[in-house]
């Protein structure tokens, strides 16, 4: 009996190993491996023409990164844009997700999920260039604001934040919707029966359930914005973000080590962000 019991156990462990082994190896080699390669490269330097990399260990790249003010400015700007995009997305997504999960009929719910997902089918570039048209001189935004006596904000950080908030909105709505769907309707009714106003219910019943979902969404919006360099090229005017510095160092200066040093900044920011998120306990509730 006992012998028969261990045999399948061993076999299933084998099966588990076979099943998980390749993806785990893939993750370690491709993901952690490339991160390690990134870090190692950042400690080298490129020569005058950029073609060859001198493989002697040096902290020069990081020294430049920390001492030159321009990189601090760009880092702060990138973080602020990421925060703005995340906040805007959270504020816009909350009513949408709440309506989808708790108010809409099942049929409307399905249609709304499709509606939220459809923009993801269109190419990123198409959407970004569409916003370029929107913000252009005499474009739709100009036309809409004209009655208020305002002009289009033009290409710049405002346009970048709006474009990115538009692009990443589905990534905020979907986790929020999934989170709210798990909230039993009876809780809302109980809250109302106990005399809570709509606002109190929102604050004391909905938000605590919603928080982990919002955090999950914010990881998407925050990290996607942190690494973006295309939208800011298209609608950002003369502004640059961390991604552009990486892109320019790599493609323009052909300086791979410096590009690698710059790209460690978003990695560190994301690690700090995830640690912060973990502290709140939001990840356990996902």
């Amino acid at each position: 009996m006992s012998a028969a019991g261990t045999a399948p156990g061993r076999r299933s462990r084998w099966q588990l190993g076979l099943l998980l082994g390749p993806p785990m190896a893939w993750l370690v080699v491709v993901y952690l491996g490339s991160l390690a390669a990134l870090f190692v490269t950042s400690l080298w330097t490129a020569d005058e023409f950029g073609g060859t990399i001198s493989r002697t260990w040096t902290l020069d790249n990081f020294r430049d990164l920390f001492t030159l003010e321009v990189y601090r400015t760009i880092t702060v700007r990138t973080i602020l844009v990421a925060v703005a995009v995340t906040v805007i997305d959270a504020v816009v997504a909350l009513p949408v997700a709440l309506f989808m999960a708790k108010v809409a009929s099942p049929r409307a719910q399905r249609l709304l999920v499709i509606a939220v997902l459809t923009p993801l089918w269109a190419s990123y570039l198409v959407k970004a260039y569409a916003w370029r048209g929107m913000f252009s001189n005499g474009g739709p935004v100009d036309w809409l604001l004209a009655p208020l006596g305002l002009d289009t904000p033009g290409y710049g950080l405002t346009a970048t934040v709006i474009t990115l908030a538009y692009l990443w909105l589905p990534y905020m709505i979907l986790p929020m919707y999934a989170g709210l769907e798990r909230l039993p309707g009876s809780l809302l009714e109980a809250s109302a029966d106990l005399g809570a106003t709509g606002w109190t219910t929102l604050r004391r019943v909905v938000l605590p359930v919603l928080f982990p979902a919002a955090v999950a969404g914010s990881i998407f919006t925050f990290s996607l914005t942190l690494g973006d360099y295309i939208a800011v090229k298209i609608v950002g005017g003369a502004n640059q973000m961390l991604g552009n510095v990486v892109y320019d160092s790599f493609l323009t200066g052909n300086n791979m080590p410096f590009a690698a040093a710059v790209s460690t900044i978003p990695v560190v920011i994301m690690l700090a962000y995830l640690t912060g998120v973990r502290r709140t306990g939001a990840l356990e509730n996902l």
Binding site: A36, F39, S54, L68, T252
Partner: protein
């Protein structure tokens, strides 16, 4: 259990990092040993001695407008005749900046490239462009002599490609918004505040040379003799000027279509441009004009180069010969708006074209500051200082944009 697992993970990463470090460390020894200090030494690469049959395929990396196959405009086509003549099937990829050209060329995907002077030396240095045997290129004999054996297309008398044509960067302006019509570069530098938010500039570190050229004319005290040979102080002065300009720049351009669009909508009204962009914008009825300021300009002198690892060498040589043939060279020159390299091309261009671009006029051609890669050996011949390199310019350019 949880801690054990994450500990194992951390150790795995550390082990991996260490492994990378050791392997690369040993590679580094070999790298530093072969490093040369001092003057520019080209890698030793073989040159084609004779040509064989065409391979049937050719991948072309070119500036926009340099390899038209009739898809933009039916009458603008010099790729199809080449394909019909040689049987080499041509695929074309356009690039926006020299930096992009270098990176794309280093991918090894392209057989030939139209490289400007700020890319050619980098391609030679990185062993991506091979020496070209000009004896195998029939039309080379008709190229203006003053374009041969120059700093940007040859090393020690060995040509690394064939000259294609040359021209100057122009100042484009919206005729409705910019009055009176500018005569020099001041609307984008000292006078930029008049068009604040609507000034545009070329998004590449090489644009620093435009500022240096402006300073060369307006602030002789700085002692700039050559806009691509800047010592640290001169570079700092150019960067300061560009930072002032930055406050008034609406956006930088490197994609020529983006510049056309910005001028069409009026988001940009004044800035640096190429003749081909002016032509396309004017064809779209955009009210723009372009001038070559009297104080001179930066410009380009392009060279068609062959990838050192090409598998289509015969097609590549065929292309080099075709593109500088009088017919093709005249067609490209007229379409892009530049002086052709082939002296016989001027018989085929429309009347007055070669005169307006001063084709063959050596003195005029010498007045353009062609894009050149800045290197630490000062290009103006100074030996008492070390000049800033393109890497320095790249950092400076990031700083300018802020």
């Amino acid at each position: 259990m949880r801690t054990t697992r994450s500990l194992v993970g951390v150790m795995a990463v550390l082990a991996l990092t260490a492994a990378c470090g050791t392997t690369s460390g040993s590679g580094g020894d070999g790298g530093s040993a072969s490093e040369e200090q001092g003057g520019f030494v080209a890698p030793d690469l073989p040159m084609a001695e004779e040509l064989g049959d065409y391979e049937g395929e050719l991948s072309v990396l070119a500036w926009p407008g340099y390899a038209e196959d009739g898809s933009t405009d039916k009458s603008v086509d010099w790729v199809t005749p080449f394909e019909e003549e040689t049987g080499c099937d041509v695929t074309v990829k356009y690039f926006g900046t020299s930096d992009e050209a270098v990176t794309l060329m280093q991918s090894g995907e392209y057989d030939v490239v139209s490289a400007s002077g700020d890319a050619s030396l980098r391609l030679i240095a990185s062993a991506d462009a091979e020496p070209v045997n000009t004896d195998l290129i029939e039309n080379y004999a008709d190229v203006w002599p003053f374009l041969k054996d120059r700093d940007w297309n040859s090393v020690d008398g060995q040509m690394y490609g064939v000259p294609h044509g040359y021209g100057a960067n122009l100042l484009m302006y919206n005729t409705k918004e910019v009055t009176p019509a500018p005569t020099d570069w001041s609307p984008v530098f000292d006078g930029a505040s008049d068009y604040s938010g609507n000034v545009t500039a070329y998004d590449s570190p090489i644009y620093i040379a435009d500022a240096a050229l402006y300073l060369m004319n307006t602030q002789p005290d700085l002692g700039i003799e050559h806009p691509y040979a800047l010592d640290a102080d001169q570079l700092a002065a150019a960067v300061d000027l560009l930072k002032q300009q930055r406050e008034h720049v609406g956006e930088y351009w490197s994609d020529y279509l983006k510049e056309i669009q910005a001028f069409t909508t009026g988001d940009s009204v004044v800035g640096t441009t190429w003749q081909v962009i002016v032509n396309l914008a004017q064809a779209d009825k955009v009210p723009v004009e372009a001038i070559l300021p009297e104080t001179g300009s930066t410009g380009w002198s392009d060279t068609w180069m062959v990838n050192a690892n090409t598998e289509h060498r015969n097609c590549a040589y065929g292309w080099l010969n075709h593109i500088i043939s009088p017919e093709a060279n005249a067609a490209v020159a007229e379409w892009f708006g530049e002086a052709p390299a082939n002296s016989k091309a001027c018989d085929l261009t429309s009347k007055g074209f070669c005169e307006s671009y001063h084709a063959g006029d050596e003195a005029y051609a010498e007045g353009i500051w062609y894009w050149t890669t800045p290197i630490s050996d000062c290009l103006d011949g100074r030996t008492d200082v070390e000049c800033t390199t393109y890497q320095d310019w790249t950092r400076a350019w990031t700083e300018v944009k802020g």
